[in-house]
């Protein structure tokens, strides 16, 4: 099995660790088409997003107005299922399907979680979408959301540009 995969270089790990969400340092390098196993789950995910109306601007309004339980139920169930899964993985010392040890990077606290979190919350209530639903809104035919999406990419880019000047 070792012969099938080459070791991945780790030079830029530290760079990506600046941003805790962005670290996936698998030791294995696979052919590119292995990525379709993520597309497959993404497709299921997109169907769930539409069928449970999670991508609906109205459901987000209901949530923030405390007039419906739906979104709280979705997020709450997801967290509980995720929590149990992570506990089981840790308890059983489960490994990946390729036999790697599972590693969950630790998130470090910085002021960004407060300031950035607040800014994202404000935007979330306007657009009715976090980044995931943006992709689903475009996919389900709301073509004007492309503008929202490009603005979100621009926002990410401007953050990268100003990063050193912002409080962290």
């Amino acid at each position: 099995m070792k012969n099938e995969f080459q070791q991945a270089p780790t030079a830029d790990l530290q760079q990506r660790e600046l941003d805790s969400i962005c670290v996936n340092e698998s030791e294995l390098v696979h052919p590119w088409w292995h990525n379709f196993k993520y597309s497959a789950w993404g497709i299921l995910f997109g169907i769930v997003f539409v069928k449970a109306e999670i991508i609906s601007w109205f459901r987000i309004q209901e949530m923030f107005r405390f007039e419906s339980f739906h979104m709280y139920g979705v997020i709450g169930t997801a967290v509980i299922v995720g929590l149990i899964s992570v506990l089981l993985i840790k308890r059983t010392k489960a490994r990946t399907i390729h036999g790697e040890e599972i590693h969950i990077p630790k998130k470090e606290f910085n002021k960004g979680q407060v300031i950035g979190g607040l800014l994202f919350g404000l935007g979330w209530a306007i657009t009715g979408a976090c980044p995931g639903p943006l992709f689903a809104q475009m996919g389900s035919g709301f073509s004007v959301v492309i503008v929202t999406f490009l603005s979100a990419v621009a926002g990410t880019w401007v953050y990268g540009l100003l990063r050193e000047k912002l409080p962290h």
Partner: protein, 187 residues
């Protein structure tokens, strides 16, 4: 069977499937769930502009782009082949409130009064698409994650910085909805 699938899915089905994304990604490839980082990878791939934040080997994170691509395809499939012929049912008080602001197109996932091309070059379009989208992209990256990375992945792995972020997402959303959006909806 298809009739059941076409109906709106209850929260516990959706929540369970979304929660299972966490172990799926871990077990299949040691990946931690997070969607907003895809926006960063797009910046790194398309316009790194010598900014150190975008100078990394984004190809290593290509899985994330395959994942979000899948989301768009899945949403297309659901909208084309699995859509519910009945209009969406909205909570009565929310519907009444929005109607008082002139938003009455409650049958679809997004109201046509806001989310259509003819709104793009209006003040409303500037706020709802351009400024709103910018805040989502800037805020999630500043916070180091979004609803998936912090609220679901972060809370699932019991990381308190993610709890802080999640609380701030809610504070921001509630403040916008109750204090600012009433004015923005009249634009």
């Amino acid at each position: 069977m298809l009739e059941i699938i076409k109906q709106p899915w209850p929260w516990y089905v959706a929540g369970a499937l979304i929660g299972l994304t966490v172990p799926y990604l871990l077990l299949v490839g040691n990946k931690t769930f997070g969607i907003s980082s895809s926006l960063r990878h797009l910046c790194a791939a398309c316009l790194p502009a010598n900014i150190s934040f975008f100078k990394y080997d984004w190809k290593k994170e290509a899985w994330n782009l395959f994942f979000v691509g899948g989301i768009a395809v899945g949403a297309f499939i659901a909208a084309q082949f699995l859509s519910d012929p009945n209009p969406m049912v909205l909570a009565e008080p929310t519907a009444e409130y929005l109607a008082s602001k002139g938003i009455t197109d409650t049958g679809h996932l997004l109201p046509a009064e806001i989310f259509s091309w003819d709104q793009l070059f209006t003040l409303r379009g500037l706020v709802f698409f351009v400024i709103g989208g910018f805040m989502v992209g800037f805020g999630t990256r500043y916070a180091g994650g979004c609803t998936s990375g912090h609220a679901i992945m972060g809370l699932s792995s019991m990381q308190w910085p993610s709890l802080v972020a999640t609380v701030m997402f809610m504070v921001g959303g509630i403040a916008m909805t109750w204090l600012i959006l009433p004015y923005l909806l009249t634009l």
